[in-house]
Every structure is written in C-alpha cells, then in structure tokens.
C-alpha cells in the first residue's frame, strides 16, 4: 500500500520533534522533506531552530508512524469519558513543579 507522504523521487517526508530546553519533552513542530535521515536532521535545524527554539532534534520518517484512524475515535477514546476516577486529582502539586 502506498503510504501518504511517500514520494517516488527518492525524497520522503520526515516529522520533526524539538526539545525546547532541558527537562521538557520533544514536541512535534512540523515536517520537512529529505532524502535521508541526516539531511532531515539538517533541514530540521535550518527550518525549525533559526530562532533558538531548541536544544535537541528528533526526526522520524512520516511513513514509519502508524496513526490512529479518526473514524475509530469513538471506540478508542469514548470509553474513557465516564471514568473520571482515573484522574489523579487528589494530589497537591508542589509550587516548585512548573512543567507537570
């Protein structure tokens, strides 16, 4: 099956994840085209960190990501809706913790 974003000219789409600063998660920021992972990393650096947005970059071929189907949303996510007891709302978060 031909994957969405797959090209036939040797270029592929890569998803870019950037860590803004130490202690934070890598966050998805967008995508670039590249012919190999090294080029994707350089393109990500050139496109997404021009204004000091990050200290670390991950690149992942878009074709290697298996995404959930929006049509399955009911089956996947509805069952959690009435289970509020799963939320850890009974804890006090210390003031010092900024990024929880």
């Amino acid at each position: 099956m031909e994957h969405e974003g797959e090209r036939t000219d040797g270029w592929a789409l890569y998803e870019i994840f950037i860590r803004a600063r130490a202690g934070l998660d890598h966050k998805h920021v967008g995508s670039v085209h590249a012919t190999d992972p090294r080029m994707a990393l350089e393109h990500a650096r050139d496109v997404y960190t021009r204004r000091q947005e990050g200290i670390s970059i991950w690149v992942v071929r878009s074709a290697d990501i298996l995404a959930s189907d929006p049509a399955d949303a009911d089956a996947l996510f509805e069952p959690a809706r009435d289970k509020v007891y799963r939320h850890p709302t009974f804890y006090d978060i210390p003031d010092e913790v900024k990024t929880l």
Binding site: W11, V32, H33, D36, H43, R45, D46, V47, R50
Partner: protein, 259 residues
C-alpha cells in the same frame, strides 16, 4: 606578544590580512544569497540562506575590525560597498558563479574545509580580536562543513547524472584552491607575527579532509593545476565585478540611504 589593540605599526599590515578573511566570507555570502527563492527545495532555500547569514555576520565583524585597524574612519559598510573590485582580497574560489547545485556545493565544501582548519588555527592568534571572531565563527563553520560534506557524498555517490555533475564541478573549481593553502609574503609576515597560524598543518588537514570525503563520494581528486589565481592579492576572475555591481548598486546609487 598578545595584545588586544595592536599599535599603529603592527596594525597597518594586518588590514589586508583581515580583509582577506572578511571578503572571503562576504563575497560567498553574496553568492549564496543569489539562491534565495531559487533553491531546489524550501528546506535547502533556508539552509543556504542560513549559511549566507552566518558568513555575512563573519564578514561584518571582520570588516569592522579592518576598518578600526586602518584608522581612516571607514566602517563595515564603507568597506563592503565603496571599495573597487581590485581592493577586494577574497580568494578567487568564492566569487565563482553558483552554476548548478553541484557547483554551489563543491565550492562550499572546498571553502568550508579550508575555513574550518584556518579558523581553528586562528583561535590561538596573537591578535585577540581575531581569535575571538574565529572562535565564534568556528561553530558556524563546523555545521557548514557537515552540511556541504553530506551533499558531496550524497550526490557524488548518487546517480550517474549526479556523479557526473559533481565530478564536473570539482574539476572546474579545483584550480581555484591553490591560493587557499599556499602562502604569499603577506601570509608569511602574519604567520611570523603569530597573527595567522602556520599554513603547513592547515594545508595537510584540509587535503586529508578533502580526500576522505571524496573517497566516500566516489569522486576523483583532480590533478593540481599549473595556473595560479591570486584573488587574495586583488587579481580576480571576471566574475567579481558583476557580483559587486549587484551588491553595491543600491548604496552607490543612494548614498547614505536607510530603511
């Protein structure tokens, strides 16, 4: 002797040496800027522009310093926009036209490999200002070299078409490399003063880097060319004049214009 502010007798001979470094970065920045809006992919457009801006920044710092050393009241703008062609002291390589992407990348790689070694040496210059500029620029250069090496290998070891274009670009641009690693009287004077680093280890490291990358790229190193270019002495190829006309047109037409 290390000194932040060389006295007048020391300063004068440094002016053309600093201009050589400044013009190398400035002219290549101008060339790379010509790609903006024309690169083969949006990502490369930004990549080339980023490199151009790094080089432009180096050029500005170096031109400002050259102006101070000269002490004639010329600032970075005066030196960039109001000098004639023969007063530019960049190596001939950087003024060569962009050509196709192969030419641009080969030119970039040959330059980056040279600048990387030279600036590493300049970080221990007896001239503290130059050492500081080199230390800042070296981080940029390390990235440029990685980026251009990647393209040399990718396209050299790519398709039959890309390999042929890369070899063609390498053969065309190789004759301009000798002046990068050969010394003339000014270079030797600067080396003796500890302002410039000794050239032999730089030439060796440059050559070894070129060989290693060309091997991975399955490209053949061209034979040394007998003809010598001396852009760094102000004797340029026919291309620099057009480049300067483009670059200097606005400030010469509207002196003192501002945003």
């Amino acid at each position: 002797m290390a000194s932040a502010a060389p006295d007048a007798a020391d300063a004068a001979p440094r002016v053309p040496y600093v201009l050589r470094l400044a013009d190398a970065s400035l002219v290549l920045a101008q060339r790379l800027g010509e790609w903006i809006g024309h690169a083969p992919a949006l990502e490369e457009d930004l990549g080339l522009a980023n490199t151009a801006l790094d080089l432009m920044g180096q050029g500005r710092l170096l031109l400002a310093y050259a102006g101070e050393l000269e002490g004639q009241g010329r600032d970075e703008d005066a030196l960039a926009f109001l000098r004639e062609e023969h007063a530019f002291l960049n190596p001939t390589l950087v003024e060569q036209p962009n050509g196709d992407f192969a030419h641009t990348m080969v030119r970039q790689f040959l330059f980056d490999a040279w600048q990387h070694e030279l600036y590493a040496g300049l970080t221990s210059s007896s001239d503290e200002r130059l050492a500081a500029i080199a230390a800042k620029a070296l981080k940029e250069t390390r990235y440029h070299l990685s980026y251009s090496s990647g393209w040399i290998i990718r396209l050299g070891d790519g398709t039959e078409e890309s390999h042929a274009r890369m070899q063609g670009a390498l053969d065309a641009l190789w004759p301009y490399t000798s002046e990068l690693v050969e010394t003339d009287e000014l270079d030797r004077k600067m080396i003796a003063a500890g302002v410039a680093p000794p050239m032999e280890p730089i030439a060796e490291a440059w050559s070894a880097r070129i060989d290693a990358v060309l091997r991975d790229a399955t490209l053949a190193r061209p034979a040394a060319a007998p003809y010598r270019w001396y852009g760094k002495q102000g004797r340029h190829s026919e291309h620099l004049g057009y480049l300067l006309a483009d670059m200097q047109h606005l400030p010469r037409t509207h002196p003192g214009a501002s945003w």
